[in-house]
Symmetry: C2
């Protein structure tokens, strides 16, 4: 029997310190360049029951309530992150609970929206989790999530290089070799699960979802004008976004 | 008004000679390593009306009739390829017609299966063509096609390289910069259209299709054992396969 458990890197002091300093941690949703595209995939939230898988500091949970969500449940594996989320939230209709997404248990047919930002690439047993999510959605409910793009996660040694002609390139290998990748990002030994876009699509279908949108995210011209470093996202995307219906 | 026209590289003598020598031209479907995966996406063909967009030498058309298809229409832009297809076919229920897929005209609700192998990445006006294909399928009919994978088509200068550690890698740039790519493959100046997986998915949805399968194709262990050169497909795939329902 599979018994995966999430590597709780977010409670590693060095990782947590680094993560807390990222623009998306300091500025919230506005600090995440892919947020406008992810937001565009959401249903109207007025009166909705919402769950955020990997809620971190609770930015999305609070935003969802501002949009009129009836209640919001934020789950995360990190005690550090939930502590800060609770400190920054005064709203009885937002609950935060500690949870390992590998062992997710949810009530059936209870949510209008399951949301997740950049958490699914940590999940080993994604098929089981997607089955749980599908069952937890009300009929017609929606799953909207982002994950790291397979071009980011594939390489055995990820990194930009410059070729003989001075061209900045992202060398790819092992693209179809799915499974764990250990990288040093904010801390050493961070383990992510590399999966292709086709595999995400297949797992959604097998869990009973109807995929409605796939996005390999890139910045707009005005985002690049405001932050020229984003231009490299057009060379090799970092994020992919999905929406799918129960 | 858009007025795209297919670059008919297949009737370039040098290209045609090179293409005619490829394993898939000499051995037909059995010479294409992705064929077993593509075949697995097909419906039962007994009694079916089938069309092959970019039929080349007619290998698939003849195979479809062997599987019991009622009639098969093969379309291609290349006179050279259709001439050989006609010479190798003795079957009144297989018709070959010259056609530019950019200007495709098809009768409505007439086909059970629209099939295409490695032709769609030549199409500039793919949205119009997919609308035509959708309309030409009977309700419940299926589109099954392969196209070049965006990792193959993306780079401004595609090719394997070896990095400083002796690792064979495929350098990627311009992944989200969709549009024409001019490469030298069998002949110089071959123009293909680079599109991401997400864009293929979106165009299918916008044309009214329900996508059922996406595959970033890789070889099986036994295929690699029989042809070790196929192993590099796991490092960077060449093909993607789709099926979608009207």
């Amino acid at each position: 029997m599979k018994q995966a458990m999430t590597q709780n890197i977010y409670d590693d002091p060095r990782f947590f310190k680094g993560y807390s300093g990222l623009p998306r941690s300091v500025h919230g949703l506005a600090g995440a360049p892919e947020w406008p595209s992810l937001r565009a995939l959401l249903p109207p939230l007025s009166g909705a029951s919402v769950i955020d898988l990997g809620c971190g500091f609770g930015w999305f949970c609070r935003w969802a309530r501002e949009q009129g969500a009836f209640d919001v449940l934020g789950l995360d594996v990190s005690r550090n992150m939930l502590e800060r989320a609770r400190n920054e939230t005064q709203d009885p209709n937002i609950r935060y609970e500690i949870a390992d997404l590998e062992q997710l248990m949810l009530p059936a047919a209870s949510f209008d929206l399951v949301y997740s930002s950049l958490a699914f690439h940590y999940i080993v047993d994604l098929d089981t989790m997607l089955n749980t999510v599908h069952r937890a959605l009300k009929p017609g409910g929606r799953l909207v999530f982002s994950a790291e793009h397979p071009l980011l996660t594939a390489p055995s040694r990820p990194g930009w290089t410059v070729d003989g002609d001075g061209r900045k390139v992202w060398p790819v290998d092992d693209y179809l070799v799915e499974g764990p990748r250990t990288t040093d990002w904010l801390a050493s030994g961070v383990v992510k699960q590399h999966r292709t876009i086709a595999t995400y699509f297949r797992l959604l279908r097998e869990a009973g979802f109807t995929p409605a949108h796939i996005e390999e995210w890139g910045p707009t011209d005005s985002q690049i004008a405001a932050d020229p470093a984003l231009a490299e996202e057009r060379q090799r995307p970092t994020f992919m976004l999905f929406s799918a219906f129960r």
